[in-house]
């Protein structure tokens, strides 16, 4: 289980190779990669800027991972979140999980990215030709996170 916050890009293939290495029980590996879009509210985005709260952000991410591993038998988890200035098509975030079976790997991965969106302290500013704007928590992200509190979902996978 590990969390990394960095300005540098990451290489998906090598992250996955490391994540699964040394454990022949891994039967499923799921990864989610978030990317920078070049549009928002019909405006062209030139770049985005991301900042975080050193200390609290790592703590929040580790807590989200702990909750995921309490719900599902995950063998390993890797979360990488980039900060600083990013451009369209850049990778922003990686969430990767390994498990014995795909159900747990899928559910754990989805849970972690849904929680990250609403419970990990990151701040994102979009730069467009018209100016810049700090984004705020989206209602759709809150809804996705809340759906994990539902009892049937809680017991699934």
């Amino acid at each position: 289980m590990s969390v990394l916050i960095q300005e540098e890009d990451f290489d998906l293939a090598s992250e996955l190779t490391t994540l699964r290495s040394g454990n022949s029980k891994v039967g499923a590996m799921v990864s989610f990669v978030g990317l920078v879009r070049d549009f928002s509210h019909n405006e062209t985005i030139e770049s985005i800027y991301l900042e975080y709260y050193p200390g609290m952000t790592e703590k929040a991410l580790n807590k989200i991972i702990s909750e995921a591993t309490e719900r599902w038998s995950l063998i390993n988890v890797r979360v990488i979140h980039r900060i600083g200035q990013l451009f369209a098509n850049d990778q922003i975030v990686l969430v990767a999980t390994t498990a014995l079976h795909r159900g747990e790997a899928f559910a754990g991965c989805e849970f972690i990215i849904d929680y990250l969106k609403t419970a990990a302290p990151f701040w994102k500013k979009e730069q467009t030709r018209e100016g810049s704007q700090w984004l705020e928590t989206r209602e759709t992200d809150v809804k996705r996170m809340e759906h994990w509190h539902n009892d049937t979902v809680r017991k699934s996978a």
Binding site: G55, K59, H81, K117, T118, P121, F122, W134, L135
Partner: protein, 84 residues
């Protein structure tokens, strides 16, 4: 009462301040009281730190407006988060 204040996101940029040590009066011993006290610093502060526009953390844990503040706490004030 001395506390550490850290700012992130929109308020950090608009207040041009990332961190400060503040000596706060007794009435600022909850997050709501602290925000009200900081808003007295001027128009930009009043606008940026409106209760509805900021979220807070005490010693790196999210906390609501009624939460109590103690000596040497690290209080973070920030705009709603948006990661991922």
């Amino acid at each position: 009462m001395k506390i550490e204040l850290v700012y992130f996101g929109r308020p950090r940029e608009h207040l041009k301040l990332s961190r400060e040590t503040a000596d706060v009066p007794a009435e600022a011993s909850t997050l709501a009281g602290l925000l009200a006290w900081l808003r007295l610093r001027g128009d930009t502060w009043a606008q940026e730190l409106a209760d509805s526009r900021v979220r807070c953390a005490i010693n790196q844990e999210f906390a609501g407006l009624p939460a109590a503040i103690n000596e040497n706490d690290e209080i973070a004030i920030f705009s709603p988060i948006s990661g991922g």
